[in-house]
Symmetry: D2
Subunit: 92 residues, 4 copies
């Protein structure tokens, strides 16, 4: 399973950018900035996080689920596990 | 690819129920029912449709993506196609 | 509260179009059309329903919540009721 | 408009917790933790951020939109601005 992160540095760079955005949100609230601008920024962070999640899912299906499936077990549990994760993401 | 619908009758029954809910929504609007109740019903329909989509995705990954992948092509296009569909669903 | 539906005919037309899309989905499943195309169509229906919901919310906040609020009750329950509906919509 | 943040300390505490979760995500990726666990954590962060957004919206509608509306202008722009923010949030 190791090494399934297609490009770990890219993921880390994106997550550090999100961390910066969260600190920016704290500053906006602390400075009483306009509520709608805070909401717009929260939507931007959510979208960025979901893009990270979609990339991780692509890697996961490509390198884990398909690999496992290629061992001949069509009922492999990894598919159910992946779709449960997608269901949580869709509602989040 | 034929026959990948694990349980076509179940999908059709769920979609017919959604169709009934949409007609119910028309009746609610036509009768000037309370706006919040209409919104609650729309949220229920969306959730039902997303549950159908998640089931379809499970079938699709299990019977199409994994099958294709088991032919030895780790870069198969079906993964990218599936994650693009997930990305659209997440934003919808 | 009557008449808060800004343009009832427009809402009904949009909901009838959604009903047609749901029947189209049943046909797609019945004819074993490609899973990804069914998913794309489900995402389109969800987006259409959410646009209807956003329009209803706009009407509701404009004509009900603000009206109620203008009677001088800043703690009016309609705000909490509206944001609870938004929370359900966001997760749906 | 100042002071519309009902409980600024509470918002800041919630955003600091989210910041901690984002740093946790970086650690998970850096340590090659299991992809599905990373996805679960991303969904948790999104849900937490959306709960913050809903609280902000409640404050905003209660203290800004209704106040503005109570000045007698039913067509006030703040409603359209708020529903545009809700539309962005719903898609994020």
């Amino acid at each position: 399973m190791r090494g399934y992160y297609n490009d770990k540095d890219d993921y880390l760079a994106r997550l550090r950018r999100v961390e910066g955005q969260i600190r920016g949100l704290q500053r906006m609230v602390d400075e009483d900035q306009y509520c709608i601008d805070v909401l717009t920024q929260i939507s931007a962070v959510n979208s960025a996080l979901k893009r990270v999640a979609i990339s991780l899912l692509d890697d996961h299906i490509r390198y884990c689920v398909v690999e496992e499936g290629s061992k001949g077990d069509a009922d492999n549990d990894m598919v159910g596990e992946a779709t449960a994760a997608i269901a949580r993401l869709v509602k989040s």
